[in-house]
């Protein structure tokens, strides 16, 4: 088993040297923190990852969840892990003191999550799914719903999920058919309480035996409401509901309930008719169960409306946007673990001799000396460290949007909103390729289960699919994000890049990179104008290569992040000592690699995006 799975030095470089996370402490909301606090959060994350998560990496892959007697059984080791995250306050660490949280900035918490994900992706998802669901409730749920559900979720006693996808509605959520019928037509009128009926599929942690209850934040359509996306509402649909003993609003009596199973809430739980019809057996990410749920099969599922009717999708997008940054982080983390596993192997594995010295009497050389192996290592390093830089940048924008007001707040919001599809899709797509490079470096050994890289390769593949496919994010970027507010987000993004280009131009050694980025930024702007000019004439043509546009945008964005890192590395190199010299030299060489091997891919993409040949639109189904 590979020993290193992430680089603490790189996290420190990004957090403190590049993005100055410590500067957040000047805002009142974060004033109780200091670098010392941030370091301790990361150290604790590392210890949990090393001692609890990483030891189960392979075992959770081999012993995947099973459906037994209607209940999904997961790895027993998850009991302690979920409990640890709940007991130690990780699930609500980012929330306010008033809510029992510690107001830890996203910039830091995302880095901690990155450590967990790199250690064992499957095990890391359980607590953070609960964080996302609880965050929705605290944002939009009634005080009563918050009081009932959130404490047990924060404590890790109840699992949170988001239940969106249905057998015939995945990317197209406007087509969901799960229904919600008001109970106020019943003899016993219960405002806000609905009967839910339908099916949900691919629900991560949708059922398992390591928590007392599962709380689904579920999308459904209220009968008689508007058609399509405008008729979607959000409900809390618990797997087990609190038994009604009469007298409470929403059918929930919070005062006269006996202690039953939960440690911190004294309520009796009863079945809510949410049946687990199956557990999916997946290609990777096997330790976390993905459930197929039957809701209201016996006409006895109650759902509790969150916020206002028909605003469910808007609410859910808050969670989805956060989750999308999380998915990008997952991918970067898995890619990072694969990179270090292949790096370790390349340093130890002797095979062949360098091209310039083929003397057979000499021992074989370690494969890290072969240029092609170095290329594959550089590719991985460029992708994963470039992605991590972008994701850290997004965390910082989220924190700054949280603590600023007015125009400044809008500025950070617009940038974060624009960059979200890229922060999700670039790492997701590219880490499929980078983990493949890791397998390639190990050769035949990499294709066996004796080494972890094949698992990383399989686990990377889900990320271009879940939380919106790459295709959906392409449409989101080209069809929506770059044109909202008359293209203000895009303008701000270009200004950010220009600032970096100006900064880099102050260093003689970085001028060529600054010039290249300027050239490709101008090219990208031209392509954007060209595509927008197609929109009025033919929307289908306009959006037909949205995925390629997303790819192009992703490369420019990561090139920007590499220049940001290059500036800091160049600045620090002047006074660096010891291992830091190698660290900064490594950063500068990887930036060079990105500009030489990756940025130039824009030329090919540009040719296609500027072409008037609409083959994908014109191709007929029958011609396949």
């Amino acid at each position: 088993m590979a020993t290193q799975f992430f680089s603490k030095r790189n996290l420190q470089f990004l957090l403190y040297e590049v993005f100055d996370a410590e500067s957040l402490t000047k805002y009142p909301y974060y004033q109780d923190h200091a670098r010392e606090t941030f370091d301790m959060v990361l150290d604790s994350a590392e210890q949990i990852a090393e001692k609890m998560l990483k030891p189960l990496l392979t075992e959770m892959d081999r012993k995947e969840p099973q459906l037994v007697d209607g209940k999904i059984r997961i790895h027993e080791g998850m009991r302690n892990i979920i409990k640890k995250f709940g007991d130690d306050g990780w699930i609500n660490a980012g929330f306010s003191y008033e809510e029992g949280g510690q107001q830890i900035p996203s910039t830091v918490l995302n880095s901690a999550a990155f450590i967990f994900q790199a250690a064992n992706y499957s095990s890391s998802v359980f607590p953070f799914l609960t964080t996302g669901a609880a965050n929705l409730l605290r944002s939009f749920g009634s005080k009563e719903l918050q009081e009932i559900y959130i404490p047990n979720m924060y404590a890790g006693i109840w699992q949170g999920t988001m239940a969106l996808t249905e057998p015939d509605a995945g990317s197209s959520l406007s087509d969901i058919t799960t229904t919600a019928e008001p109970t106020d037509s019943d003899a016993e009128c219960r405002p806000g309480v609905y009967k839910i009926k339908g099916q949900k599929i691919y629900i991560s942690a949708g059922d398992h035996d390591m928590c007392e209850n599962v709380i689904h934040l579920m999308l459904a359509k209220i009968k008689g409401g508007p058609a399509g996306a405008k008729g979607i509402s959000l409900f809390v649909v618990p797997q087990k509901r609190i038994k009604e003993t009469g007298g409470g609003s929403n059918g929930i009596n919070t005062t006269n309930i006996e202690n039953q199973t939960s440690n911190i809430e004294h309520r009796i739980l009863e079945d809510n008719d949410v049946l687990t019809a199956g557990v999916y057996h997946k290609m990777g990410y096997k330790g976390a169960p993905i459930a197929h749920l039957m809701v209201g099969s016996n006409d006895n599922t109650l759902g509790y409306l969150v916020g206002e009717p028909h605003k469910g999708l808007t609410y859910m997008f808050q969670m989805m946007n956060e989750a999308r940054i999380g998915v990008g982080m997952n991918a970067a983390a898995i890619g990072t673990a694969a990179y270090y596993a292949s790096l370790e192997y390349a340093k130890e594995r002797p095979q062949g001799r360098v091209i310039s010295d083929k003397d057979i009497s000499k021992p074989q050389t370690q494969i890290i000396r072969h240029a092609d192996v170095k290329r594959m290592l550089l590719f991985q390093k460029a992708v994963v460290e470039g992605s991590l830089a972008l994701l850290t940048q997004c965390g910082l924008y989220a924190d700054l949007a949280h603590v600023t007001e007015g125009e400044e707040r809008e500025y950070y919001h617009l940038l974060l909103d624009l960059l979200t599809p890229i922060a999700k899709s670039y790492p997701s797509e590219m880490c499929c390729l980078s983990t493949s490079a890791a397998v390639q470096i190990l050769g035949g050994a990499g294709y066996t289960t004796d080494f972890p890289v094949e698992q990383f390769y399989r686990e990377a593949r889900i990320h271009p699919i879940h939380e919106g496919t790459t295709g959906i994010h392409g449409l989101d970027l080209l069809g929506r994000k770059i044109i909202i507010k008359n293209g203000k987000s895009l303008q701000l993004f270009f200004e950010e890049l220009m600032k970096t280009i100006e900064q880099a131009s102050e260093y003689e050694s970085l001028k060529p990179f600054a010039e290249k980025l300027r050239k490709y930024l101008e090219k990208s702007a031209g392509i954007t104008q060209h595509l927008l000019s197609l929109a009025a004439a033919d929307l289908e043509v306009f959006l037909s290569d949205a995925t390629l546009y997303l790819e192009l945008f992703g490369i420019v964005t990561i090139a920007w992040q590499w220049l940001v890192q290059g500036i800091k590395a160049q600045e620090k190199l002047a006074t660096a000592q010891g291992d830091d010299v190698n660290f900064y030299q490594g950063k500068l060489a990887t930036m060079r690699y990105f500009y030489e091997y990756e940025l130039v891919k824009i030329d090919g993409l540009a040719r296609r995006l500027m072409s008037s040949d609409n083959v994908t639109v014109e191709m007929q189904s029958e011609w396949f």
């Binding site: 109780d32 200091a34 010392e36 301790m40 150290d43 130690d88 306050g89 990780w90 291992d579």
Partner: protein
């Protein structure tokens, strides 16, 4: 129960070791410091005993200001307050002297520390402190329970284990599996910054000065000898390694 836990601020086990000033000083550049792993065990058990029996846990370090980061981590793990004696820990006797002065004033029921540090691995500070205070010292303690005024312990001895009892106060050198290492939780991390940390000036002066550090010679290359070439192996052992 009033417990003092003495901790060392030592380079991470993965740190690359080098020296400066003509090989007379350890080069701290780029080195990550940690709480001594055996001290971590002692602290974890102290926190458990405090939670079980009530009282306080004070963490103490003899070291310069840069050790405060590690001290704060100990506070995050659960110690109630901390003392740092502001000086370079030049030798075991000097360190023990500082601990003994504080302990004599504060009257602790238990003084716990790791069985040894992991930088110089002297393993004598607990004995020296006990001698200076005139109380018993035991090491390495693998198990510790407190029953009234009696400590019930298991310690490792040559070739086995020994169950032993002694009255408080005591100085103990600890090792695994006396407790599981504790990982600071979020609340602990946030409260660590506001817990009291007293800085005291040292008494006396260090007795030793390092005149020169030297790294061990690098390991020689490994020669592989085929299993059917025993004579060649004997020859190498005799004439090259000169161990036969």
């Amino acid at each position: 129960m009033k417990i003092l836990v003495c901790i060392t601020n030592v380079p991470d086990t993965t740190a690359k070791i080098s020296f400066t000033d003509g090989d007379t000083k350890f080069n701290k550049t780029g080195v990550t410091y940690i709480c001594g792993p055996y001290d971590d065990y002692a602290l974890s058990r102290a926190v458990e005993l405090r939670d079980q029996l009530g009282g306080t846990v004070t963490v103490m370090n003899v070291g310069e200001a840069d050790s405060e980061q590690v001290i704060r981590k100990c506070l995050a793990i659960g110690a109630d307050d901390a003392i740092r004696v502001n000086c370079e820990p030049t030798d075991s006797y000097f360190v023990a002297e500082q601990i003994a002065v504080v302990a004599a004033q504060e009257k602790y029921d238990l003084i716990l520390m790791g069985r040894e540090s992991i930088d110089y691995n002297g393993g004598i500070v607990h004995g020296l402190v006990a001698q200076m205070l005139g109380i018993p010292s035991l090491s390495p303690v693998m198990k510790l329970e407190i029953d009234g005024n009696t400590a019930k312990m298991t310690r490792e001895i040559e070739g086995g284990k020994e169950d032993i009892e002694a009255s408080l106060p005591l100085v103990l050198g600890c090792q695994e599996p006396i407790a599981e290492w504790k990982i600071p939780n979020m609340r602990g991390i946030m409260t660590a910054r506001t817990k009291p940390l007293r800085v005291l000036e040292p008494v006396g002066e260090g007795l030793t000065v390092t005149s020169k550090y030297e790294l061990p010679a690098p390991k020689g290359a490994c020669k592989m000898v085929s299993a059917d070439e025993a004579e060649k192996l004997i020859d190498l052992l005799k004439n090259e390694a000169k161990v036969l």
